[in-house]
């Protein structure tokens, strides 16, 4: 699985993602935001960080980078695109995903481990997760408060496009377990076609026991499986 990891000025999880893709047996390659082409790759990942310092709105200025045209085209052809944290913000800003990520309702940066439910395990990013599986992984963001209008939210729910939700230890998505004020406790969503996913939590930080959790591994492995399967066809 050849994965393009895009580095924007201010990205700071690009290397973490690189290591993680290597760990699951993928073949990561960095792309610089000024590049105009992705080359031949099987998937694209937009890493976390503070592209352009999060100035204006998180992820907004990065969407003006030349590479984003190529990413849109890749997504348009059904190529898998994963955006994590700042990457999720970019996907929304670039209209590859609906809605927007507003400032956390606490107005504070929030860094901690959260519990997540897997809401849809029939996508290329989640097929290895059992439906009842509860995940633990870190979040670290100041603008992760997912917002979309009623209509869009209803549509996301109806079409099963909510991927992850923040939950409490009992598995319920409650206000108390919502770290940032996200609508419907949404932590991640996918596009209609099922090839573009964005999420605020960091699965790439939950891939080794020594880091406290390995719950992010199956996400990357799901994608890897999907890609090798589709190559065989």
């Amino acid at each position: 699985m050849k994965v393009a990891i895009i580095t924007f000025p201010g990205s700071n999880c690009d290397y973490d993602l690189y290591k993680c893709v290597q760990l699951v047996g993928g073949d990561p390659e960095f792309r610089w935001h000024r590049d105009s082409s992705l080359g031949k790759v099987d998937a694209v990942m937009l890493p976390g960080g503070f592209s352009y310092g999060d100035y204006l709105r998180a992820g907004a200025i990065a969407t003006m980078s030349p590479i984003m045209e190529a990413v849109k085209e890749f997504a348009g052809h059904g190529g898998p695109v994963l955006g994590i944290c700042n990457g999720f913000q970019m996907l929304c800003e670039a209209n590859l995903l609906p809605g927007a990520l507003l400032r956390n309702n606490s107005l504070l940066f929030c860094s901690k481990e959260v519990a997540l439910s897997v809401e849809n395990n029939s996508t290329i990013f989640t097929e290895l997760y059992k439906p009842e599986r509860k995940l633990r992984m870190p979040i670290a963001h100041a603008e992760g408060n997912y917002y979309a209008n009623e209509e869009t939210l209803a549509q996301l729910e109806e079409e099963g496009r909510v991927m992850f939700r923040y939950i409490d230890p009992q598995g319920k998505s409650t206000d108390g377990s919502n770290p940032n004020g996200s609508a419907n406790n949404i932590a991640g969503i996918i596009n209609t076609r099922g090839n573009v996913m964005g999420m605020m939590p960091h699965p790439e930080r939950a891939v080794e026991n020594i880091l406290g959790s390995v719950d992010g591994l199956d996400l990357f492995k799901s994608l890897l499986n999907h890609i090798s399967a589709s190559k065989k066809v």
Binding site: G10, N12, K19, H202, E204, R205, V207, L211
Partner: protein, 754 residues
């Protein structure tokens, strides 16, 4: 010596002007002797900055010479941008601590943010990639609106900057006491990792090489910041202060990547952050260290504002700028690297052979001073030191009546758990990204933070410590306690203490009672660091932490780093399993001086702080490391503020989601108060599986360390029980947990007031 021409518009140099520049008449006389003429206005500014306390260490240098700085593993001791130690496998660890107290008192958010920015640059200009940040903070009482404003601003500033650059915060400390009401302490420490041979120094090597300014253009911000940091804050520093510096962590991240690429390119011979005193100090220090001279053409320096004078350009402290020495003929290549990172590089001068710091403007020379006169030539002083009789009285205060209390231990205990100095600091470190870079194996919340090294499966531990109350009451003993606590914190996670960086935060050194504290603190640190074989590789001095004549508690913050040989030895302070047994190493005593208990219950800072027996501390550390290396322990936790009861609570409450209870029986012939809450030094609390307890006891015995079994880890539902000979405590975990975790959030929820 070449004489600078006068510049139209420069003010006349008068005794008043000299004194406004923080120079004494005799210092001015010395300047005239060095130059063999009168200085120009620009030169006066340059001397003023370089001979300020901040850059020149005039009142501290002589004492600092007494610190131990050498060991076989020390690659770079004090004098460079940061210290460097060898950690094996061709790797080197770079680390340093830096203060930003004065800017933070005026503008907490930007002050703290730019403090983090500065310390990061100190690390990556050595050629190392920053891998962790720690922050050591002191504030007044959180019941004051102004203090809450300072606290929340500083925490956000530290957080936003490190988060944006993408360096995990792994620990630090925060201490609240009225003694810091108007003068918060903001010290930031950074660790970096590099291959040994990537080390690059801040030296202007190679006559003819180019001096190149990299990063942000120079503005009028922070002019005379170095001099400013060398003065007390007065009522009107709010209005007369120089413009604050604004941090731009986004540019910093680009600078970080670009600098590391530059260093690896081989096109440059030296690099230094333009920190305090900006271009002046970076150029003069680089010239001074190499023995060469430097020439700066002021017209070439990129500026942000029109009509800046040489004086302003030379003294500006605009952030996110670096000075780089580029090998001749390679300017284009380094510009290409910087352009890729969306940064600019401008040639502003060159390395010369005449030893001078020379500045030209058009055809005119505006300054020509020997580099060494600016650096090494700074006059140094040993001041008069005398202990304040007031503090002496406080120390000898009789506290024995506070030792007895026949009941109500539970209430006192809950008050302690909810005190700012003992409660959970989660509110604060949740604002810090602690997991970015995916190497943090012990995040904030433990005795020390730990970063694993992917390269060799070792790990680096770091901590900052200092109890300013102890130092206030007894500066020498208190500083030994700070070093000892730092070392205990490291061994508690399984690390061998290796080296120290320190930040000496004090009041006005011209006052004998302050200089006394300073001298005693340095002597205490020196003695402890020698004994623990943790040489001091660098640090920072921040004097004049006073508002309207009231100084802070003397606060010599110790930043210590250690190595864990294999990540399998990582040990945490939290109990792991019911049924494990709990053992205490070290002796309980009836000391209560300087304790959190007497502060919380009586509002007092008094008494003799707990005594430190350095030899016993060393034995204790060795014994715990030996237990950890035999893989005997389930947890280890150092005892500090709040004593045994609070340490037990911290280990039991853990990270809240799965707490435990304890069942403890103590046989000591001590009153319950000192037994539960006394802060005797040299103690560590450990837990282990029942069948390992004999080995633990034996290991302690082999090291001559007192150790006994005091109880057992039980399910949380069984509660928290401590039985002494003459008094007991029994509490439920829920109540304790609420006090411990909600103390700061509850206070911070009070709305902002001015």
């Amino acid at each position: 010596m070449l004489s600078p021409q006068s510049r139209p518009g420069d003010p006349q140099i008068t005794p008043e002007l000299v004194s406004e520049h923080g120079l004494s008449p005799s210092e001015y006389q010395k300047i005239r002797e060095i130059l063999t003429r009168e200085p120009s206005f620009t030169e006066l500014g340059v001397f003023s900055a370089m001979w300020s306390e901040h850059c020149g260490y005039k009142n501290s240098k002589r004492m600092l010479k007494l610190l131990p700085t050498k060991a076989p593993w020390v690659i770079q001791g004090p004098g460079e941008n940061a210290g460097v130690i060898d950690i094996g496998d061709d790797l080197a660890l770079v680390f340093k601590i830096e203060s930003h107290n004065h800017p933070s008192a005026v503008e907490p958010y930007q002050g703290a943010a730019t403090g983090v920015g500065g310390i990061l640059r100190d690390i990556f200009t050595m050629g190392a990639r920053p891998i962790a940040i720690l922050d050591s903070l002191r504030f007044g009482d959180l019941n004051s609106g102004r203090v809450r404003f300072l606290f929340s601003g500083v925490v956000q500033g530290v957080g936003d900057y490190g988060n944006c650059v993408g360096i995990p915060n792994i620990g630090g400390e925060v201490f609240f006491d009225k003694g810091y009401e108007d003068n918060p302490i903001v010290n930031a420490m950074c660790l970096g990792l590099m291959k040994r041979d990537s080390l690059i120094k801040g030296e202007a090597e190679g006559v003819g090489n180019l001096l190149v300014a990299v990063g942000t253009a120079t503005g009028r911000d922070g002019i005379h910041g170095a001099t400013f940091a060398s003065e007390e804050l007065s009522e009107d520093s709010q209005s007369s202060r120089p413009q604050v510096q604004v941090g731009d962590p986004f540019t910093e991240k680009l600078l970080l990547e670009a600098s590391l690429e530059l260093i690896h390119s081989g096109y440059i011979t030296g690099i230094q952050d333009m920190g305090a005193a900006g271009i002046t100090s970076s150029a003069a220090e680089m010239g001074g260290r190499s023995g060469n001279g430097v020439e700066i053409n002021i017209d070439l320096v990129p500026v942000r504002e029109p009509n800046m004078t040489p004086y302003e350009i030379l003294l500006s402290e605009s952030q996110e700028r670096m000075l780089v020495v580029v090998k001749t003929g390679h300017l284009k290549k380094i510009q290409d690297i910087l352009t890729k990172w969306e940064l600019k590089a401008d040639e502003i001068g060159c390395v010369t052979d005449d030893g001078l710091f020379r500045v030209t403007e058009g055809s005119r020379t505006v300054a020509a001073i020997p580099c060494l006169a600016l650096t090494e030539g700074c006059p140094t002083y040993e001041r008069e030191g005398k202990e304040s009789s007031e503090i002496k009285n406080l120390r000898s205060k009789d506290l024995s009546h506070l030792k007895t209390r026949s009941s109500g231990y539970e209430e006192i205990f809950l008050d302690l758990l909810g005190s700012g100095n003992i409660c959970s600091k989660r509110w604060l470190y949740q604002q810090y990204d602690t997991t970015v870079r995916t190497n943090t194996v012990i995040p904030p919340g433990a005795d020390a933070g730990v970063i694993r090294l992917r390269e060799n499966n070792k790990a680096i531990a770091a901590t900052t410590d200092c109890n300013g109350r102890y130092v206030y009451l007894n500066p020498r003993m208190g500083t030994k306690a700070a070093v000892a606590e730092a070392a205990r914190n490291l061994v508690s996670v399984g690390a061998l203490p290796m080296a120290v960086t320190n930040n000496l935060n004090f009041g006005n050194p011209l006052k004998p009672e302050i200089y006394y504290q300073f001298r005693e603190a340095v002597l205490g640190m020196s003695e402890a660091c020698k004994l623990f074989e943790t040489p001091v590789t660098g640090g920072n001095v921040s004097f004049y932490n006073e508002t309207s004549g009231t100084p802070i508690y003397p606060t010599p913050v110790i930043g210590m780093v250690g190595i864990i040989d294999d990540t399998k030895y990582l040990t945490r302070p939290f109990f792991q399993e019911s049924g494990d047994v709990i053992l205490l190493l070290g002796n309980n005593t009836d000391e209560l001086g300087g304790s959190e208990y007497i502060y919380v219950s009586e509002g007092l800072v008094a008494g003799e702080p707990p005594a430190v027996d350095l030899l016993a501390e060393r034995q204790l550390q060795h014994s715990v490391l030996s237990m950890i290396n035999q893989e005997l322990l389930q947890s280890a936790h150092d005892l500090s503020e709040g004593g045994l009861a609070c340490a037990l609570a911290e280990s039991a409450l853990g990270n809240k989601t799965d707490p435990f209870g304890v069942d403890i029986i103590l046989q000591d012939r001590l009153e319950p108060i000192p037994l539960f809450f006394g802060e005797a030094q040299g103690r560590i609390l450990v837990s282990c599986a029942k069948n390992s307890s004999n080995q633990v006891l034996q290991t302690a015995k082999d090291h001559g360390v007192p150790c006994r079994l005091i109880g057992e880890v039980v399910p949380a539902s069984n509660g928290f029980r401590i039985a002494g000979r003459t008094g007991n405590m029994e509490l439920d975990i829920e109540t304790m947990s609420n006090r411990f975790f909600n103390a700061i959030p509850t206070l911070m929820d009070k709305r902002k007031e001015s």
